[in-house]
C-alpha cells in the first residue's frame, strides 16, 4: 500500500527534524577512517597533513616514510579535530612497506586482513546483547596513490585495486602531480580510466542526485578522475599572497590552485560534500557484502555435507541456527556418555589395582612376620646356648672356687701349726 502524499493544512513542525538530528550528531561527534596506500615516497604523509591542516607526522614522530620497513605493516593513528563546534575523530590507517620490496606478491594481504578484521569487530559488536556503544572503526575510504609514470597502471596497482574494490571505497589518486605537464596529465588520466574499466575495477562512484546543480558538479568531478594531487604544508609567498605550495627554481606549484592540481577537489569531495556518503556506502554496501559472506560461510560449515546442497539456501538463518544448536546438543550428549564410560572403566581398573596391591601387602606382611618369628627363635636358641654355657662356666667357677677354698683352708691349717 503506497503512502499517499497529503497536503498539510497548518504548520505541524516536523520540519525541524533535521535540526534535531543535527544537534544530536554534533553532540555525539563524528568518526571517519581513512586508509592511505601506496609505494613509499609518493607523498602520502604530506597529503594527509595538507588535507587536514595538522601535522600528523611531525618531526618528533617520524612518519612511515622515514623508517625502513621489511614487511608490509598496517598502522593506525587517531586525531581529534574540532571545527565550528563539530568534533571529528579522524583515524588514518597507513601501510608502510607496501610495494617496496623486491618481491611484492601478496603485499596486499595485510591490508585485506586489516579491513576484514575491522568489519568483524563491527559485526561482533552488532551481534552483542548490550549494544549501547558501537564504535565504528570500519575503513570508510581508501586513497590509493598511483605513481606518476605517465604511461598507465602498474601490475601491482591493478592487482591491488581488483582485490580491494569490493571491500572498501577505493579512490585512486595520481601522486606528485607536479611532475606532469597538463597534456601528459590528461593523457595519463584517460589511460588510467581506460585500464580501470578494462579490468572492471569498481572505484568509488559519486552518487547521482535529483538536483541539476549538484549533478553538474558531480559530472565535473567525474571528468577529472583520477584526481591528480600535490601536497604541501609549507607556506610560500606568491604574487604578494601567501599560499601553500612547493618552491622550484622555475616557479611555485600551488596546492590550492585549481589550475595546478586537483587538491581542492579532493578535499571538498572527501570532507565537505561526500564524507557522509562514503560512510553510507561503506555501511550499506561493503559491510553488508562482508556480513552476508561471513554468515553464509558459518551456516554452510554447520550443515552435514551429505544433505542436498539446495536445501541450505531455502532455510532461514534462524532455523539453521536451531538445527545447529540441536546438533550441537546431541553431540555434547554423546560426548558425555562416552566420557562416563571411559570414567567407569578407569574406576574399575583402579579398584582392581588397589585390591591387588592390598593382597600383595598382606602377603608381605605375613612373610615379614614369619621372618621375624624365625629370627626370634634363632635368638632364643642362641640365648639358651649362651645360658647353658654360662651355667657351665658358673659351675666350673664354683668348683674352682671350692678347690681354691679347700687349698686355702689347708694352707691356713698348715700355717696354724698343725704341722704334724
Amino acid at each position: 500500500m503506497l503512502a499517499q502524499q497529503k497536503n498539510l493544512e497548518g504548520y505541524v513542525g516536523f520540519a525541524s527534524l533535521p535540526n534535531q538530528v543535527y544537534r544530536k550528531s554534533v553532540k555525539r561527534g563524528f568518526e571517519f577512517t581513512l586508509m592511505v596506500v601506496g609505494e613509499s615516497g609518493l607523498g602520502k604523509s604530506t597529503l594527509i597533513n595538507s588535507l587536514f591542516l595538522t601535522d600528523l607526522y611531525s618531526s618528533e614522530y617520524p612518519g612511515p616514510s622515514h623508517r625502513v620497513k621489511k614487511t608490509v605493516q598496517v598502522e593506525q593513528s587517531k586525531v581529534l579535530v574540532k571545527e565550528g563546534g563539530v568534533q571529528l575523530l579522524l583515524t588514518i590507517v597507513d601501510t608502510p612497506g607496501f610495494g617496496d620490496a623486491v618481491d611484492n606478491s601478496n603485499c596486499w594481504q595485510p591490508v585485506i586482513d586489516h579491513i576484514d578484521s575491522k568489519f568483524e569487530d563491527y559485526l561482533n559488536s552488532e551481534s552483542r546483547v548490550n549494544r549501547r556503544q558501537m564504535p565504528d572503526s570500519r575503513i570508510h575510504s581508501c586513497l590509493y596513490f598511483i605513481a606518476p609514470s605517465g604511461h598507465g597502471l602498474k601490475p601491482l596497482d591493478i592487482e591491488f585495486m581488483k582485490r580491494l574494490h569490493e571491500k572498501v571505497n577505493v579512490i585512486p589518486l595520481i601522486a606528485k602531480a607536479d611532475t606532469l605537464t597538463p597534456e601528459e596529465c590528461q593523457q595519463f588520466k584517460k589511460q588510467i580510466m581506460r585500464e580501470i574499466q578494462e579490468h572492471k575495477i569498481k572505484i568509488y562512484e559519486f552518487p547521482e542526485s535529483d538536483e541539476e546543480e549538484e549533478n553538474r558538479l558531480v559530472k565535473k568531478i567525474k571528468d577529472k578522475l583520477p584526481l591528480a594531487v600535490v601536497g604541501s604544508n609549507t607556506i610560500i609567498e606568491v604574487n604578494g599572497k601567501r599560499a601553500r605550495g612547493r618552491q622550484y627554481p622555475w616557479g611555485v606549484a600551488e596546492v590550492e590552485n585549481g589550475d595546478h592540481c586537483d587538491f581542492t577537489i579532493l578535499r571538498d569531495m572527501l570532507i565537505r560534500t561526500h564524507m557522509q556518503d562514503l560512510k553510507d556506502v561503506t555501511n550499506n554496501v561493503h559491510y553488508e557484502n562482508y556480513r552476508s559472506r561471513k554468515l553464509a560461510a558459518v551456516t554452510y560449515n554447520g550443515v552435514d555435507n551429505n544433505r542436498a546442497k539446495g536445501q541450505n539456501s531455502t532455510k532461514s538463518p534462524l532455523a539453521q541456527m536451531e538445527e545447529e544448536r540441536r546438533e550441537h546438543v546431541s553431540k555434547m550428549k554423546k560426548m558425555e556418555m562416552e566420557m562416563e564410560q571411559v570414567f567407569e572403566m578407569k574406576v574399575k581398573e583402579k579398584v582392581q589395582k588397589l585390591k591387588d596391591s592390598e593382597a600383595e601387602l598382606q602377603r608381605r606382611h605375613e612373610q615379614m612376620k614369619r621372618n621375624l618369628e624365625a629370627q626370634h627363635k634363632e635368638l632364643e636358641e642362641k640365648r639358651r646356648l649362651f645360658e647353658d654355657e654360662r651355667a657351665n662356666w658358673e659351675t666350673q667357677q664354683r668348683l674352682e672356687q671350692q678347690k681354691l677354698d679347700a687349698s686355702r683352708t689347708l694352707e691356713k691349717n698348715k700355717k696354724k701349726g698343725k704341722i704334724f
Binding site: E39, S40, G41, L42, S65, H66, V68, D100, A101, V102, D103, N104, S105, A147, P148, S149, G150, H151, G152, K154, P155, L156, E159, K176, D178, T179, T181, P182, R246, Q247, Y248, P249, W250, G251, V252, A253, E254, N257, D259, H260
Partner: protein, 360 residues
C-alpha cells in the same frame, strides 16, 4: 715537441725562422695527432649505452634529449601505445649520427619491463646475461684464428640507471641491481624526473643516495680506483660530489625569453633542460659525451672486459680433460689484486653469471 727536437740539435737554429720546409729542428712527431684524427673520422666511433629503470621514468625521453634526435625505442616503434611487457625484454636500437664530419654509431639498449612486475626477483638476470653475451661475442671474435681487422664492438660501455624520485632512500631493488652490475659495467645513476623535487629535497636525496651507495660498497662511474693521476682524480672528485645527477628530459621546444629551448611547460613555470639552475642534465651530457666518453670506453675495454676474459679463459683452461662446464679451482685475477673464487654450479655460461653474482 719542437723544443725537445731542438735539444738534440747540435746547432741551435736561427730565431725567427718558422717555416717547416726549411726548419731543421722540426721532426714532425706532432703530426701524428692529425693522422689519428683523420683516421678516427674515417673509422667513426661506436658507443653502446644501456638504460635501465622502471617504466615511466623518462628513459627514452632522456636519450632523445642527450643526442638531440629520436634515438629511443619509442620513436622507432610505430605503435605509440605503451604496454608493460610481462617479462623483461632487451631491445637494442642502432643509429648512425654525424656531427662536424665525425661519425658515430650509437646503440641504445633499452630494458622494458625492468622492475615493473609484482615479483621482481632476479629481474637483473636477463640484463647480466645480455652484458656477458656481448663480452662473449667480442671474446670469440678476438680468439678467432682468422679475425677481422676491426672487431665490431657491441659491448655495453655505459649503463644509465634511473632512480625514481621518491625523495627518501634507495629501494631494495635499486641496491640489489647496482650492487651486481657495478662489477661488470660502468653504472651512472641518475635521479629521474627531477622536477618533482625542490632543491632542498634534491640535495637531501642525493646525500642519502651517496651514503647508501658507500654503505653497500657500490662503485659507480667514475670509479675511484681507476683514477690515473692527480689531475684525473681532481676532476673525478668534483664529479663524484655531484652524482647522482638529477635530470629532466624533454624533446619539445618552447620559447623562453626569446630563445627556443628544450623544456617542459607547466602552469607554474617552464623547466629548462639545459639550464644548470634547473636541473643537471648539462652535467650528465658533458660527462657522457663531451669529456669522458673515451674514458668510459677505455674502462669497459681494459678493465671490465679483461676481467671477464680472464675469468672465462681460466675456466676453460681449468685443466686438461676438464670440460668447460666443470668447476674450476681458485684463481687469482690479474686486475687490481682482487682474488675471486671460481666455484660455481657446473654450467659453462651460467657459471659466469653465478660467479658474477657470487658474494666475495
Amino acid at each position: 715537441m719542437t723544443d725537445s727536437a731542438k735539444l738534440h740539435q747540435p746547432h741551435p737554429p736561427p730565431k725567427g725562422e718558422r717555416s717547416h720546409a726549411g726548419d731543421f729542428s722540426y721532426v714532425g712527431i706532432d703530426a701524428i695527432l692529425e693522422q689519428m684524427r683523420r683516421k678516427a673520422m674515417k673509422q667513426g666511433f661506436e658507443l653502446n649505452i644501456m638504460v635501465v629503470g622502471q617504466s615511466g621514468l623518462g628513459k627514452s625521453t632522456l636519450m632523445n634529449t642527450l643526442f638531440k634526435s629520436k634515438v629511443s625505442r619509442k620513436s622507432a616503434q610505430p605503435n605509440p601505445e605503451e604496454k608493460i611487457p610481462q617479462t623483461i625484454e632487451i631491445k637494442s636500437i642502432s643509429h648512425d649520427i654525424e656531427e662536424k664530419g665525425v661519425r658515430m654509431k650509437l646503440a641504445v639498449i633499452d630494458t622494458p619491463g625492468f622492475g615493473d612486475q609484482i615479483n621482481n626477483e632476479n629481474c637483473w638476470q636477463p640484463i647480466m646475461k645480455f652484458i656477458n653475451d656481448q663480452y662473449e661475442a667480442y671474446l670469440q671474435e678476438e680468439i678467432n684464428i682468422d679475425r677481422k681487422k676491426r672487431i665490431p664492438d657491441s659491448r655495453v660501455h655505459c649503463c644509465i640507471y634511473f632512480i625514481p624520485p621518491t625523495g627518501h632512500c634507495l629501494r631494495p631493488l635499486d641496491v640489489e641491481f647496482m650492487r651486481r652490475l657495478s662489477k661488470v659495467v660502468n653504472i651512472v645513476p641518475v635521479i629521474a624526473k627531477a622536477d618533482t623535487l625542490t632543491l632542498e629535497e634534491r640535495d637531501d636525496f642525493k646525500q642519502t643516495i651517496r651514503e647508501e651507495l658507500r654503505a653497500n660498497g657500490i662503485d659507480v662511474y667514475p670509479q675511484k680506483e681507476f683514477d690515473e693521476d692527480a689531475e684525473d682524480r681532481l676532476i673525478n672528485d668534483k664529479i663524484r660530489e655531484m652524482i647522482p645527477f638529477a635530470v629532466v628530459g624533454s624533446d619539445q621546444e618552447y620559447q623562453v625569453n626569446g630563445k627556443k629551448l628544450l623544456g617542459r611547460k607547466t602552469k607554474w613555470g617552464t623547466i629548462e633542460v639545459e639550464n644548470i639552475a634547473h636541473c643537471e642534465f648539462a652535467y650528465l651530457r658533458d660527462l657522457l659525451i663531451r669529456t669522458h666518453m673515451q674514458n668510459i670506453k677505455d674502462i669497459t675495454g681494459s678493465i671490465h672486459y679483461e676481467m671477464y676474459r680472464v675469468r672465462r679463459l681460466n675456466e676453460s683452461n681449468a685443466g686438461p680433460g676438464l670440460a668447460p662446464g666443470q668447476a674450476p679451482t681458485l684463481v687469482p685475477a690479474h686486475t687490481n689484486g682482487q682474488t675471486k673464487v671460481n666455484g660455481g654450479p657446473p654450467n659453462g655460461m651460467a657459471a659466469q653469471c653465478e660467479v658474477l653474482t657470487h658474494e666475495m
